[in-house]
Amino acid sequence: MSDVPGDLKYTKSHEWVREEEDGSVLVGITDHAQSALGDLVFVEPPEEGSEVAAGDACAVVESVKAASDVYSPVTGEVTEANDALSDSPELVNQDPYGDGWIMRIQLSNPSELDELLDAASYEATLED
């Protein structure tokens, strides 16, 4: 079974969202997603300062076998991308909810968070 921490929000497309105290969110891909992709070898992060809308393909993670889009769970401005991934994309495999985070987004519409899945609902999607 893959790890689904209870304090995060999720999308059906396997991103996670962590609310930070400053009103921004961190975004990454779930343990289920990293496991399905296999060893990651390249992460193309969004550009810092870019505006993204909920549902936009804004980053790419590439495993040995294929490239996959990462969709922004929320609307806002990308204020930070995880630079460590350019040299160590495997952090996403090793620590998907920690050092393997992909981007930080400053929310333009915090109410969008209510539309995301909680851990139990996300886990239910994995069982389908």
């Binding site: 296999g38 070898v41 390249f42 590439e62 040995v64 294929a66």
Partner: protein
Amino acid sequence: MGKTTALHDVHVESGARMVDFGGWDMPVHYGSQIEEHHAVRSDAGMFDVSHMTVVDVRGSRARDFLQRLLANDVGKLLSPGKALYGCMLNEDGGIIDDLITYFLGDGDYRMVVNAATRDKDLAWLKDRSAAFDVEIRERPDLSMIAVQGPNAREKASACLPEAQRETALSLQPFFAVRLGDLFVARTGYTGEDGWEIIVPSDGAAELWRALDSAGVRPCGLGARDTLRLEAGMNLYGSDMDETTTPLESGLGWTVAWDPTDRDFIGRRALEAQRAEGVPRKFVGLLLEDRGVLRAHQRVITEDHGDGEVTSGTFSPTLNRSIGLARVPAGAGSTVEVEIRGKRLTARVVRPPFVRHGKARV
């Protein structure tokens, strides 16, 4: 669920991630594709390649038949056991399949062809063999395990009956031998030393488990792909197909032009292409920028038009992306590859990228 090999249950027990592979349910990895790749480069790994098609060709005119059928010349095979790699072409010189032919004795050959091309290959073989007195016999009763890596032969030899170990270990590269029920060939698809072992399917699981216990690591077809790409070996259906000739697929070395009166299928088309000048060449690419080369990405040359990446991946040995590409014949030593709208720089190199554990580029 697709077709399964005799080792299917063993893979599932071992925690393999199974995927569809041309209609076959096959292991792509057992946890980490990259670790499996390194195991083959530095030690020993094994692959279930039982989805591949074994065909025995027998008869007094088997040699004549194969000299007509294949662009490489089985007439070069003088010692029993010797293997030959080459292409089966259509009349236009397009590649129907690439395959290994083993010469086992007069009128006795074994071919191993690809899984995805099985039906059309068998139909072609049967059709073309009508004029010759040969028996074409597929061997679905056999399984195949490839053991590859610098320590593969030594480790695998412990799993063979004691009386046969010495014979197996004395096999020269690109030779095969029948050992009881087994057929052991010193061939492979990884750029490392090793064997491809053909075994009756009812004994495949037992052999696999013995190899596992002997320290040969189970590896999925994911690692097989990165290993063959590093080794600069073509994959049928990606790097070549019926619309491309061996001359534009980096396989000119497998075409036996001599003797000039050997009229193999596709010869006239290849001679015409050679006389006119081959318009495209097959090259290796080393991506200089960050990113990953993938099949079908556009290759942009200076002044000579576009080409296409035919296979691309991340190379675990070189820690950067590599690919094979078909480009205009005039392409220089540097090209650009379009990846998600951006143009990245790639260096044109001559494969292989890696052989026997060492970088060659």
